[in-house]
Amino acid sequence: MIACRDFRAELTANANDPKLLEHVRACDSCLDYAASFDPDIVFRAIGGGDLVPPGGVDAFVDDVMRQVRVRAAANVVSVPNRWTWRRLSAAAAIAAGVTGAALVYQHDRTIVPAAVLNPRPVAAANLTTKPVVETYESEKATIVEVPTADTGSAQVVMIFDDALPSDL
């Protein structure tokens, strides 16, 4: 094996000299020195440049790419699962809120007196009013009910109709 001083003097980039590679395998300090400017020397030293995967490089690359696609597909499938659970959680929260609100509403309804909830019928309050002149033969006529504050006084209704004779 050559000396460290000779190794460092002869070392060049992409060196493939068996003497240099042998020294790298044996001397750690020179390995660190060589790797600082030529990291691939480590692999060349252990014979990595000559290694061929089983079935050839193309089969190896295909296998790697298949794995990449399978993992990408698995990630795509796993995303909706994560969102589905989030949606279910949100739905559960909404359902719980609605249930609570409904129960509170029901509770309020039961304690409110029925008389407050059920307004008096119109007939009982006697609020129904009808116009004095309900129908009139001429649609062009104007019918005016004179408002009166006192229900005991007479109700005056005037019909203004151009079709009426002037000598009424």
Partner: protein, 221 residues
Amino acid sequence: MLFALMALVLVSGTAFADAADAGKALSVRTFQFKFKEADKAAALIKPLVSGEGSMAIQPSSNSLVVTDRADNLKAIAAALQQYDAPARNVHLSVRLVGASRVPGAPVQEPVAELKDIANELSLLRFNSFERLGEADVQGKEGEPGLIDLASGYRAEFKFGEYDPASDTIKLNDFRLLKLQNDQLVPLYKASLNLKLGRTVIVGATKPQGQRALMIVVVARR
């Protein structure tokens, strides 16, 4: 988790169903009429039926099937019981007044027979009033009525039905006619709702006319 969600949904549904049931609680009642027609009764109680309620007329049995809240059905039953009564007697007091506007003339004091409506007449733009006649007429719901006045005017009408909700009696097909050259000339035709016991003055005139014809009528039972 899924079971918890289903349980929540079921609880929500139950709560809403209970609330809805308590709010609706509809009842059905059938009213059969002895003196009045079911379709007229339906028109009478239409304002009383709530938005949740409904009604169906059965002409073969002259009855009305009403679906509504129980408390509302009580009010409807009371109104229909009052409505389905034998034809009532109606008494009409009618006066006919001629009103004129004489430009520049002072407002005349109404004659003694019109003193009770002097305030109301003073609201109008006329300054002279003359009594054209008066008459009392009696009839029953559904019967025709006729009033002939000596001044040459005639009123024809048909007594309508009493409406307990508004306490009014209706005069259907009320026609006012005037005798001219031995012929009765129709002046106008209308239908009137008269509140019982209240004096009603119905005046008719041309829009810029100097004369008006006023019918003063009081209906009583």
